[in-house]
Amino acid sequence: MSIKINHLTHIYNRGTAFEKTALQDVTLEIEKGEFIGLIGHTGSGKSTLIQHLNGLISPTEGEILLDGVNIHGDKKNLRSVRQRIGLAFQYPEHQLFEMTVWKDVAFGPNNMKLSAEEVEQRVEQALQTVGIPKELYGKSPFELSGGQKRRVAIAGVLAMNPEVFILDEPTAGLDPKGRDEILDAIKALHEERKITVILVSHSMEDVAKLVDRIIVMHKGRVAMTGTPGEVFSRVEEIEKMGLAAPQISYVFAQLKAKGYPVPTDIYTTKDATKALMDLIGQVKLC
C-alpha cells in the first residue's frame, strides 16, 4: 500500500491566541514495503504528521492518499484506515487497561469484529513476534517490567495486522536490552511480513542501522529525504536543525583529519568494524 501526502498543512487552534502552525506544505510519498526513519527536533511536526496518516486529526489543507483514495474523504473509511495503518504512540504502555495481557492485546482485533478463532490466532502471533513468553499471557499488564509493558502495548497494535506500522519513539526510556528486543522485533516484522514501517526516533544510531530511507522534518517542513548515507553526509545542515549524525561517523571524520586513509561514509558499528579491520590490514601494525 502506497501513501501519498499532498501539500499537507496543519494549524492548531486556528484563529485564537494559541494558533500554531505544526505542518506546512508537506509533500511526501511512501512506497509499499519501505522502512522509513522519521527524524526531527522536538516540535518539528513529526507527531502531527503521523497522526494525520492514521486519520486521528484532519488536515487544515492538503490531502493524504492511500492507494489513491483520500483517507479523509469519507468518515466511514476512517475505521478501515486505522486498521490498515497501525500507530503505536510514544510510551504506548500508558494505554494498557485490561485485566490480563491477553485481553489487552485482543482489544484491537475485537474492535474489528473478527471471529473468536481469528482473534486468538492474531493475539498469539502478535505476542510471539514481540517475544512475550506464554506464562505472562494471563498476568495483569501492570505487573510486568517497563520493557515488557511496552512490548505488550506494541503487540496490541500489531494484532490488528496493519499493512503500515508507525512507531513513535518505541525505545524512549528503555534500557539497552529492552531497546534491542523491541528493535529486533520491528526488524523481523519488516523482513518477514514485508510491511511498511515508519520509525520515529531520536537515536541516529538506531535509524542508521535499520532504515532504508530517512525523512528529516524541520519546523513543520520536510527538510531532507534520502538514504541514511545521503542524509548523514550533509552533517552540517543536520546539526543546524538540532540533530546529529551517528556518533561513529564523527570518529571516522577525526581519523580522516589525522591523515588515516578511511572512508567517511560510515554510519553503523558494523561498517565501522569492517573499515577499521581494512585499515589495520593496510597499515600493518605489529
Binding site: 485564537t16 491566541a17 475505521r79 486505522r82 500507530l87 494505554q95 494498557l96 482489544f107
Partner: protein
C-alpha cells in the same frame, strides 16, 4: 473536542482587566454573581448585560472564546428552562393541553433563568480567562486569611487549588492522547447507545486514573524532596499590591451595586418594569 472546554483556562493578553489585582477581581466576581440573583427584572438584566459587555470589551478576550464555555453547559441551561416553563404556576395561561400548562409567568421565569446562567458563566469566565491560576489562588489565599483564626487551612486550600488547576490542562492532554491511542486500536466512541458508550469509556478511564495517581505520587515526592512545608515563614516572589486601577475598580463595583439595588427598589414600586 476537549479543547472546547474553556472553564479555568487563561487567555494571555494585555488589558486593564488582566492587570487588575486578583483579589479585586475575585471580590467583584463574587458580588457580581450575588447581584445576578438579586436582579429580577428585564430592565435590570439589560443593565447587567451592558456592564458585562463593557468588561468583555475591556478584557480584550474574543467573545467567541467565552461563548465556547456556554456551549459545554447548554444542556443544563435548556434543562433549567424546560423545568421552569412547565412547572411554574401562574394566572396567565398561554397554552394548555392535557397535563401540560404553559403560563406567561413560566415563560418569563425560564427566560430570566437562562439569562442568569449565561451571564453567570460569562462573568466568571472573565475572571479565569484574565487571571493566571497562580494569581487566582494567591488571591483566594489572601481573602481566606481572616478565617485562619477559626482553623481554616487557608494556605493548604490555596495550594490544593493551585495543584488542581495546574493539572486540568495536563489531564486533558493526557485524555486526548489516550483517546487517540485507543482509537488507533479501533475503539469507537461516537456510535451506539448510552450503555455501550459508557462501556467504551473504560479503556480511557483506567489509563487516565493510573496516570493521575502516578503524577500525584511524583509531585508529592518532588515536593517532599524540596522540603516543602505549608505556610509559615514563606515569602512570596510576587507581592500583591493595590494599584490606582484597583481602587477605581472597587469604586465602580460600589456604583454598580448601587444601581442594582435602585433598580430592584424601583421595580417593586413600578409594575411596568417586568
Amino acid at each position: 473536542m476537549l479543547r472546547d472546554i474553556t472553564i479555568g483556562q487563561y487567555y494571555p493578553a494585555e488589558s486593564i482587566i488582566h492587570r487588575l489585582d486578583a483579589r479585586v477581581k475575585l471580590v467583584i466576581t463574587f458580588f457580581y454573581i450575588l447581584s445576578l440573583f438579586f436582579v429580577n427584572t428585564f430592565v435590570g438584566y439589560l443593565f447587567v448585560i451592558f456592564v458585562l459587555g463593557l468588561a468583555v470589551k475591556a478584557s480584550k478576550v474574543p467573545l467567541k472564546f467565552m461563548l465556547k464555555g456556554i456551549k459545554s453547559i447548554m444542556i443544563i441551561i435548556l434543562f433549567t428552562a424546560g423545568i421552569n416553563i412547565f412547572m411554574t404556576q401562574g394566572d396567565t395561561v398561554l397554552f394548555q393541553k392535557g397535563i401540560i400548562t404553559i403560563t406567561q409567568e413560566g415563560v418569563f421565569l425560564a427566560i430570566k433563568m437562562c439569562i442568569r446562567l449565561i451571564l453567570l458563566i460569562i462573568g466568571s469566565s472573565i475572571l479565569t480567562l484574565t487571571t493566571t491560576p497562580i494569581q487566582l489562588t494567591d488571591g483566594i489565599e489572601y481573602l481566606l486569611r481572616p478565617w485562619k483564626k477559626i482553623g481554616v487551612p487557608a494556605h493548604e486550600i490555596a495550594m490544593m487549588m493551585t495543584i488542581a488547576l495546574r493539572f486540568i490542562p495536563t489531564l486533558l492532554d493526557e485524555t486526548d492522547k489516550i483517546m487517540k491511542a485507543q482509537q488507533a486500536r479501533g475503539a469507537d466512541f461516537d456510535t451506539g447507545n448510552v450503555i455501550q458508550k459508557a462501556k467504551r469509556l473504560i479503556p480511557i478511564l483506567v489509563p487516565l486514573f493510573i496516570s493521575a495517581f502516578r503524577r500525584a505520587d511524583d509531585l508529592a515526592m518532588a515536593m517532599e524532596a524540596r522540603c516543602y512545608h505549608g505556610d509559615e515563614n514563606r515569602t512570596r516572589m510576587n507581592e500583591m499590591k493595590y494599584q490606582k486601577a484597583d481602587y477605581v475598580a472597587q469604586v465602580c463595583l460600589i456604583c454598580y451595586l448601587g444601581v442594582i439595588i435602585a433598580l430592584r427598589v424601583a421595580a417593586a414600586k413600578l409594575p411596568f418594569f417586568l
